[in-house]
Symmetry: C2
Subunit: 330 residues, 2 copies
């Protein structure tokens, strides 16, 4: 019998379709081998990207020259423009505003052949620091209400350049999905006076079936109602409303890389999307919301049912996905 | 400057990213040619599908034998099971219920080589009648609250069989996206005492830039804030809360086929998803919700930004899409 499961945070239902039950080997989606050729993100090609906004240069080299270990630049084809005012206006029944925002690319390391799962741990730590520095800087711009950090790995997951990179988009509105999570989390907090994520972590640590790994500070889980096979969440074990690597960056980098290595091992380097959900700027420190990383391997297609309903059909129960991940030899 | 636009019904924002402005020829996604081979939906192979639930047999032939022009059968690999009770239960903080529902396939015509855009108009009418008959029948099952009718055309849009077909899933819960639309439409109605869709139609008919075509009873529009390039909506011009082809099936079939032909012409037969949104069973006749068809060509990838935010980046303004569609020679 398939099972309908409701995600307590988003309110979204998913169908865990065991009749279509799929094991890891049923998903053939490997990220295609890197083709090489000219790469704007490689060392020596700094002049072909927009000027750098931030870079880590252990050798003290000059901006936009070789010698960096991580670089942040504006997206050459930004979805939003950093200049201008919002100018929100109505048009009869409709609402529009200027597409003001920042769209940046974080080139996570200089080596074209590495990925977030294969690069040295220090580069993963640097990537997390870069997210933090850029969020902190963009927060000062009063036009922005939220910064969404995300990563597309592999063509099928929407990546257009193969050199390992993450992106961020600073937005003048809080994203719909984040707002929904916050509303549900607030309602739960109003009623229980506890954080819903803290309660989920407590229940998952007791039950264990969906726990993938944990260290002193973080836990990796297969969510109870995942949108897609092998969806994974990483959360701080103690309540923390906003993303910050302060004091625990090594632990955070370690569990993130470990999780990505498990996914690579179990699913043979699948394409994936990664997103960070954190509290919006206007209420960064609160008792109800709990920042987290979401990782979504791209193994299934979004079709008419999903587009029409907002529900997802997932052929792999998260308990099985978590077991495969735990047992992966990495 | 890109533009942020808010859909007044779903509350969803989209980024109309003119810097990435794409014309139809920039999207290369043609549905691959039909490969042929054994097809369970072809005439003569009736015994290889589950038994038929409904069929149109102008020659009076017997069930599950040749002679039909349209067949409805259960999905051989259903996402939900039609037998059983819901048995909704809590599991600590989580909610689950048995995956009870119906999952049916509408084989729209017997000819393997036709599509909804190329089949005779009579077959499109029959398809709409089949939707209606199945919804009416499934409504009698008290376990179900909603029937989502949808179609996946082409592998990229999630179709696994190439013989032209639609699907429906009867659900024990009202889908999240439909519920969101209803809530927004209700709020609007509470305030304005008018249907938001009727107001949108009125404004679009005055403005004309996003109107694709209309006939006596229906209108095809590019929505103001489309999730993807060439997204199209078809609505009845007069207020109607629930899907019904009664009395106007020819007009409905005609505008649907015309729209699909325009999409095929402009985008060279792209993969697409089609969904019907209608009022849930418990409140089928109301003043605030207005049923409609949504057509979403599959031209762009859903990546980390969309997964993380619930916003969409659309490189083609709907005014341009509507103009290309209007000017298509079909």
């Amino acid at each position: 019998m398939p099972e309908l499961r409701k995600d307590p945070v988003s309110g979204r239902w998913v169908i865990i379709s065991v009749e279509r039950g799929k094991r890891p080997s049923d998903f053939a989606m490997r990220v295609s081998a890197k083709k090489g050729g000219f790469c704007a993100f490689c060392e020596g090609n700094e002049r072909t990207t927009p000027p750098e906004i931030l870079a880590f240069r252990p050798d003290g080299s000059r901006p936009n020259t070789p010698g960096w270990t991580l670089r942040v630049v504006s997206n050459k084809f930004p979805a939003l423009n950093v200049e201008g005012s919002l100018n929100r206006t109505g048009d009869g029944i409709f609402d529009r505003m200027n597409g003001v925002g920042a769209h940046e690319v974080i080139v996570e390391c200089a080596d074209h052949n590495l990925t977030l799962s294969s690069m040295p741990l220090k580069s993963v730590e640097d990537t997390l620091w870069a997210f933090h520095h850029r969020i902190t800087d963009l927060k000062r711009d009063v036009r922005f209400k939220y910064v969404l950090v995300f990563k597309n790995e592999g063509d099928e997951a929407g990546a257009t350049l193969e050199h390992t990179h993450s992106q961020l988009i600073a937005l003048p509105i809080v994203p719909h999905l984040v707002e929904e999570e916050i509303q549900q989390a607030k309602q739960y907090h109003d009623y229980k006076e506890r954080c819903i994520f803290c309660d989920i972590i407590h229940q998952e640590r007791t039950n264990k079936a969906r726990v993938i790994s944990e260290n002193d500070d973080y836990i990796a889980l297969a969510p109870f109602a995942p949108r897609a096979p092998f969806e994974t969440m990483i959360l701080p074990k103690r309540h923390e409303s906003s993303f910050s690597p302060d004091g625990r960056v090594q632990q955070m980098a370690h569990i993130l890389q470990r999780t990505l290595r498990q996914i690579d091992r179990v699913l043979d380097m699948p394409p994936y999307n990664m997103m960070i959900h954190t509290s919006p700027f206007k209420n960064e420190t609160n008792e109800y919301y709990h920042w987290h990383i979401e990782i979504l391997p791209k193994l299934t297609k979004i079709a008419g049912f999903e587009w029409g309903s907002g529900f997802y059909i997932n052929p792999t129960p998260p308990e099985e996905a978590a077991r495969f991940m735990r047992e992966a030899e990495i």
